[in-house]
């Protein structure tokens, strides 16, 4: 099987369905029994760039088979966290262990257990897809037949077989993204660090990437998946770490977070710019939208909002009740709304 039997018995992996056939070949073979432990463990990590704090005492652990969606607005510290986990930059304080290896003292040894796909796609444009994959296979020590076999399997899993001999600079954005991620899979690393891997790809490529990540997790890999798209965390069945101004402000499953922080909200859309409602605390305003968390007394919130609209009610086009979801959790935790187009809502008063 593609999934380590030992890990299954230990319950470290919560596989809910079988991985697709495409990823079966990528699996690690069953290894000797060992004590389950975090593949990634970060404790008290601090990092500043001059006088700007990027990470402030971050603690994070990821178990084998677990996908952790790292959520946060721009400059929340997601990429810094991934860079530190991969020993690409040093923290000012704190500790990082990958598969039990201290990344501050033995980064080279730790990197053997990591596959990093950085936010910006990094491929060799003048070379073929095959040569790009081959290089990263050689770097992780694969040779000859094993390299060829693994290369074929990875290309198949990432639907790159048809373009293996094409120059990378002639590929579509989605194909380059898939290649970018596929390049770290040759060595079957126990820890995958994926920094916004679906940025700029179309819907079908995104769905395919998410499916692959799910399957790799079911295969036993620990995945740290940074994203702006909250829906992806739910689609991945990931647990969530919300990063805000360098702090992890929440770390739990999606359902638990919704139970703890989710609030329903009412959203009003206007024909033209939304009015400024300074008298109603907690109203968030974007160009044409007002949003108010309804709390425990929705009727009162709705009434106060409508009362405050005054003449602007004539421009009201749409009223929507938003049920508690990950977005409302994110909103409650960070005071920022995240949407698919990256629009950021202004917040009036206390949220």
């Amino acid at each position: 099987m593609f999934l380590s039997a030992t890990r299954l018995e230990q319950g470290a992996v919560e596989a809910t369905s079988a991985p697709s056939e495409r990823v079966r070949g990528l699996g690690r073979t069953a290894c000797a029994p060992r004590r389950p432990r975090s593949v990634l463990a970060m404790t008290g990590v601090h990092k500043s760039y001059r006088d700007v704090s990027a990470l402030c005492g971050v603690d994070l652990e990821i178990e084998p088979g677990e996908v952790v969606a790292l959520l946060g607005a721009n400059a929340a510290g997601k990429s810094t966290l991934i860079s530190i986990a991969a020993a690409l930059c040093q923290p000012d304080a704190g500790g990082v262990w990958v598969d039990g290896v201290n990344m501050l003292t033995h980064p080279e040894r730790g990197r053997r257990s990591i596959g990093v796909a950085t936010q910006e796609t990094g491929v060799y444009p003048s070379l073929s897809v095959r040569d790009n994959l081959r290089f990263f296979g050689e770097l992780v020590g694969l040779r000859r037949k094993m390299l060829d076999d693994r290369l074929q399997r990875v290309a198949e899993a990432f639907e790159l077989s048809a373009v293996l001999d094409r120059e990378t600079q002639g590929l579509s954005v989605g194909e380059v993204r898939r290649l970018h991620t596929a390049m770290i899979m040759l060595g079957r690393p126990p820890l995958l660090l994926l920094d916004e891997p679906t940025t700029g790809v179309d819907v079908s490529t995104r769905a395919r990437m998410l499916e692959l990540v799910r399957d790799l997790a079911m295969d036993g890999s620990a995945v740290c998946y940074s994203t702006h798209y909250l829906m992806e965390a739910e689609q991945l069945g990931a647990s969530v770490a919300v990063l805000h101004h360098g702090h992890i402000v929440a770390r739990d499953t999606v359902q638990s977070l919704i139970g703890s922080y989710g609030r329903s909200a009412i959203e009003l859309r206007f024909d033209g710019p939304a009015p400024q409602l300074l008298d109603v605390p907690g109203v968030q305003r974007s160009e044409a939208t007002l949003r108010l968390a309804t709390g425990r007394d929705p009727a009162h919130s709705v009434a106060s909002l409508f009362a405050a609209l005054g003449d602007s009610i004539a421009q009201l086009r749409d009223v929507r009740l938003i049920q508690p979801n990950l977005e409302s959790v994110f909103l409650a935790l960070t005071g920022q709304a995240s949407s698919s187009n990256g629009e950021r809502l202004e917040v009036a008063g206390d949220t």
Partner: protein
């Protein structure tokens, strides 16, 4: 023994070079075209030094090698800068290859380029351009190898020093002409002004030209020249070791 991951990196650079060999072809073809033009001038240099029975190629071929090989310093730098441009540098650093393996892998292909240029220029010079090696081909190769090593070390030093590839090419282009000129590779050393002749030993091109001349004319073994070139290479390597931070971001195309 070269570590396996360094070989992988060198092989990847070789694949890139194979896809676009133009930057290597030009520094070989152009000097071959120029040698017939500069031969008479270098012959006059020999006459001025009362050295008879020479065709001029004995100095023209080494001079063109010294001048054009220096442009390979830029190629050596480019091997690093393009990784930044293609966003593959951090991927390389995040791989199991350590810093030493990365740098070692990156200098293999430029070193082979420099040695290849040496072999082609002197080989074709001997076959087609009237170059006669009266001394030892072994000594000649030793000088060529020492100069190639110096060029690669210089490439590392330039990469360590420069933030952008434009800075690196500026140093390489101006440096190539300045160092070649002062070392007697653009005009015969005998024709340089006396102040320039006094300064010449401060540049590696002088020692390379000197070593080539000793090996070609059979004036003994160019041990001192080789030793001085290796010393220059060592200085560059020490500078690079002290200054090069692999985590520094470099800008390739701006």
């Amino acid at each position: 023994m070269i570590p396996r991951r360094s070989i992988a990196i060198a092989r990847q650079d070789w694949r890139i070079l194979r896809r676009d060999p133009f930057p290597v072809i030009v520094p070989v073809v152009l000097p071959l075209l120029l040698i017939p033009f500069v031969k008479p001038a270098f012959r006059l240099g020999f006459v001025a030094e009362h050295i008879r029975h020479t065709a001029g190629a004995e100095q023209a071929v080494p001079a063109m090698d010294v001048t054009f090989a220096f442009f390979l310093v830029g190629n050596s730098s480019m091997a690093f800068f393009r990784e930044h441009a293609w966003r593959t540098w951090d991927r390389l650093r995040a791989s199991p290859a350590n810093n030493y393996e990365i740098v070692l892998g990156k200098i293999v292909v430029p070193l082979l380029q420099a040695m290849g240029q040496f072999a082609l220029l002197f080989g074709l010079g001997s076959l087609c351009l009237g170059l006669t090696v009266r001394g030892s081909w072994g000594s000649l190769t030793a000088v060529g190898a020492a100069y190639s090593l110096y060029l690669v070390a210089m490439g590392l030093a330039v990469t360590a020093l420069c933030k952008t590839y434009m800075q690196a090419t500026a140093i390489t282009n101006v440096g190539a002409l300045f160092i070649a000129g002062l070392g007697g590779a653009l005009v015969p050393h005998a024709f340089l002004p006396s102040w320039a002749r006094t300064l010449s030993p401060a540049v590696p091109s002088y020692w390379t030209m000197n070593g080539y001349r000793e090996a070609i004319l059979g004036y003994g073994h160019p041990l001192v020249s080789v030793a001085v070139l290796l010393a220059f290479a060592t200085v560059c390597l020490v500078f690079a070791a002290l200054r090069f931070r692999l985590r520094d971001t470099k800008i390739a195309w701006a």
